[in-house]
Amino acid sequence: MAVTVSPERDVVATPVQRAIREAFYAGAIALGLFVLFIGLKTGQNISNELVLTTRWGLLATVVIATAVGRFLYVAYGQPFLANQKIADVATGLLPDSVATRFFRLPYFIAAIVIAALLLVLASSLDGLLGPGLAGYARFVRALAIIYALASVLFYFRAFIHAHFSALGVAALALYPIIVVLSLALYGGSMAAGFQGSLKWVDNFGIQILIYVMLAWGLNIVVGLAGLLDLGYVAFYAVGAYAYALLGTQYGLSFWILLPAAGAMAAFWGVLLGFPVLRLRGDYLAIVTLAFGEIIRLVLINWREVTNGSAGISGIPKVTFFGLMTFNVSDPNYIAKVLNIATSSAYYKIFLYYLILGLCLLTAFVTIRLRRMPVGRAWEALREDEIACRSLGINTTTTKLTAFATGAMFGGFAGSFFAARQGFVSPESFIFLESAIILAIVVLGGMGSLVGIAVAAMVMIGGTEVLRELDFLKQVFGPDFTPELYRMLLFGMAMVIVMLWKPRGFVGSREPTAFLKERRAVSSSFTKEGHG
């Protein structure tokens, strides 16, 4: 059989040729973009004159990195991704997914061995390798542990997916215990375990759960009722100051002031609700933004009551339901009552369970409300306000209850925050906080409790992890502080998530009414960019 080769065929480039061409273009674009951003730097010299420093080396690095990255992606990445979609002729099967190829038993065993070996050698690493290399060894150890844990998660993925909420709650409930026990094993004593757990329970656990609670509270307003609220931090502030002022002035207990702070925040939620009843979308966002700023400015300027920017300190600690306290000097200090060693970790662990309980309360109330008339009215309100009214729903009370309920949980979180910090100042309640909470709600998928919790974990936990990445100093030099890149990474993560999953981590809405069976509805039918 005669094979005719058309002359055009030779013109079609191989991936490598195409990659070289595209790498060149990418490099040129990067050069054009960064020549002023990176190539030149302005500064001041000792006599305050403007000086121009050139950084051609750094510019070259960036341009070459861009070009190489594009080359690798076009030459190997794209063909690989294309091959993933082509079935084998002989078997008719698609190739194994990347994940199944990445998580394999031999790799898993290797990771366990490496991690165990480096853990055993932990103390002698510095001596063996010198401080520089030992840092890298610790990094390798961390990677091996992460890989091993990820493998386990991957192996049980179906089970985890099916029981995600229950497993999540169980993991959160066991978290402090696991942290204390593993650190106790590592450190050789229970005291070391408690002491070491401080950071993990406080910085990670409590911090993340506060944001989970705030985001779940805002979710009622934004995710369910569809009212874009940019001033949510105001209710957080009201709750915090309510506890701070009433606790320090009148010595009332947290357990009385928690509901009081919630009620006060709900009251302010209604106050905000009234003027904005007729507003929607952008206009509502602007007014709520202003409301948040008004509350903050009042806190700064009403010095006689709030002590201005200096804030309020000496806020009393939470007691163990009035039975035991966490103040070392008190006669019923927990360590004295229970006859155990003194440690500040007990308070943090107690606070952890307290905020976990408050979070679960928020989730429980949200889930229950969604199945009740008022919750359904919220969701219908988000969909179509006019249709709601013609179905006999009083949109005024519906909106006000949404604002009040959301604000109440913000108030709870605020009074918890005040009790945990022992100090409040207006600086904690800036607009950025509102923006972060809203970002968590949007990233998580508006209306989805699980998605929002995961988003809070990634966003808040992620920024906390940056503090831990000391090995980066060995890569970028001792002046490198990863925390400073927090907002940059935050922004990048948001852009990436919104490109890949425009409806957030969990974009599907769980229906609340069924005739006989429950069936999940695919998220691909939902509207995008609501709010």
Partner: protein, 242 residues
Amino acid sequence: MAGTTLLDIKGVQTYYGNIRALNGVDVTVKQGEIVALIGANGAGKSTLMMTIFGAPRARAGTITFAGTDITQLPTHEIARMRIAQSPEGRRIFPRMTVMENLQMGASLDNLKHYDEDVEKVFTLFPRLKERIAQRGGTLSGGEQQMLSIARALMARPKLLLLDEPSLGLAPLIVKQIFDAIRELNRTQGLTVFLVEQNAFGALKLATRGYVMVNGNVTMSGTGKELLANPEVRAAYLEGGHH
């Protein structure tokens, strides 16, 4: 069958800003009737429908429902008088499932007869039953119209207002929907007030009809009379038999 007056609209004037959309409209709907309001685009048919629900509010005239003056009541209070509406553009809840939409409709009735009524609307519109767990926004136009009417019926209304139920639908679907309306009227004695551009279908269905031109009711009579009227035929029916 046609007994007491259920809905009485007297001298209603409605404005959009300074533009008068209704010039003193008089319409009566009696218990157990199907009343059709026909007219060209922009005649004020939908405005009248919305004025009954108080948005926009009538600037002059009165609207009485079952002896109660509802002219100044808030929209949701009017709905609570058991007036249900399948509004212009259907206005179903797009992200909620068919079941959830029906549930929202039943909230006026406090879900008291929910299970029973769900079965009833599924008998009336079997297509909806097949779409039970589907989101409202993913239904076809005809199914959305059915859902909109079904949602209105879930409130157990005394009066059902339908704004252009045939808009943008295939003739076969229009027939299904009109059949369903007739069925509801015959078996349950439901009073229906509908606004239509599809004059032929609407007048065939209706006990009585009104013709609206530029914000005024210019003609009224039984469905048969209007169908036979040469003016009506010339303006709305000739060349457009469905």
